[in-house]
């Protein structure tokens, strides 16, 4: 150890400090407080853990009950609930033509026109006979 290092060491020893009983008590009290804080936080963590565990157990029990109730239903119901089979087929069309059904008024009109034609034909024949 060189001279300066030795002197620095000696001078540090010249700094007189004292751990008073009051300070010692204060530190000890703070330490006990820290221990209680730690214990309280551990207890808090444990109670939170317990809450989570009980909640999860409840959820699991509910799910189990739902599963059991669903599994115990009669088989027929299960069959009924099966989806219907879907078949695909091309629709067939019947192309047989049907005669038009005329209404009564139109039939009468046709008869009248035919009558008019006969009358017009007869008139034309009479006129020809007259000229000849």
């Amino acid at each position: 150890m060189d001279k300066l290092a030795k002197q620095l060491r000696e001078d540090a020893d010249q700094i007189k400090v004292l751990i008073t009983p009051e300070l010692e008590n204060r530190i000890e009290a703070s330490l006990r407080g820290a221990v209680q804080d730690n214990a309280a936080s551990v207890k808090g963590r444990q109670s939170a853990l317990f809450w989570w565990a009980s909640s999860l157990t409840g959820v699991a029990a509910t799910l189990a009950i739902i599963a059991v109730v669903n599994l115990s239903k009669p088989e027929l119901e299960t069959a009924i609930t099966e989806p219907p089979q879907q078949t695909f087929s091309v629709p067939k069309f019947d192309w047989k033509p049907q005669p038009a059904v005329l209404t009564q008024t139109l039939e009468q009109e046709l008869v009248d026109i035919q009558s008019d034609l006969k009358k017009a034909e007869q008139t034309v024949r009479d006129d020809i006979d007259e000229i000849m």
Partner: protein
């Protein structure tokens, strides 16, 4: 050393008695260090209390690759930085006034023929380099440990320790020494 290991193991298991016995080896040296860094003796006592409580809270994270004292000083220095960062401006002013009247370091130093080197060191060196010197020459810490505590490189620590020695040597021999904060960084 083995008894210290046993005490650490017991403290990790939650034994207050083991922890109290363990830190009783270091608390006086720690208080001496804190007195030299705090604006008042009461602040140094508060800082010691906070350090020991924090160390107890986090002792489960203590890694035995470090010396226990290194770990403890690291907590103490972090604590001091935190206290200074959150200290209100009014308290800083009060601290300055108390320094004018003679700070806790001056009050704790026994009367001597010559001036205490740590008073010179506090006057000449920056706060960080002062800490590095204390850890090196009072606590016998390795340069690597000091670098780790200060969160500095090993090179920075070596260079600044050397410069600080030169400055203190110059002051000791009555040569004018100007305050240099740090080598770099």
């Amino acid at each position: 050393m083995s008894s210290e290991t046993a005490l650490i193991a017991a403290a990790k298991r939650g034994s207050i008695r083991a922890y109290t016995e363990l830190v009783s080896l270091y608390r006086e040296g720690l208080l001496r260090f804190l007195v030299s860094k705090s604006p008042s003796y009461a602040d140094a006592e508060d800082a010691l209390q906070d350090t020991l409580i924090n160390a107890y809270r986090f002792i489960s994270s203590y890694d035995s690759k470090w010396r226990f004292s290194t770990w403890l000083y690291r907590i103490a220095i972090n604590n001091l930085s935190r206290i200074r960062a959150t200290e209100p401006a009014s308290k800083v002013e009060l601290g300055d006034l108390s320094d004018e009247e003679g700070g806790p370091l001056e009050q704790c130093i026994a009367a001597s023929e010559r001036q205490n080197l740590w008073l010179s060191a506090k006057r000449i060196l920056s706060d960080e380099v002062y800490t590095a010197m204390w850890l090196r020459y009072v606590e016998d810490m390795s340069v690597n440990d000091i670098a780790a505590i200060l969160e500095r490189s090993v090179s920075w620590t070596k260079v600044n320790l050397l410069r600080a020695r030169r400055q203190l040597d110059a002051d000791l021999n009555g040569m004018p020494a100007k305050k240099v904060s740090q080598a770099y960084g």
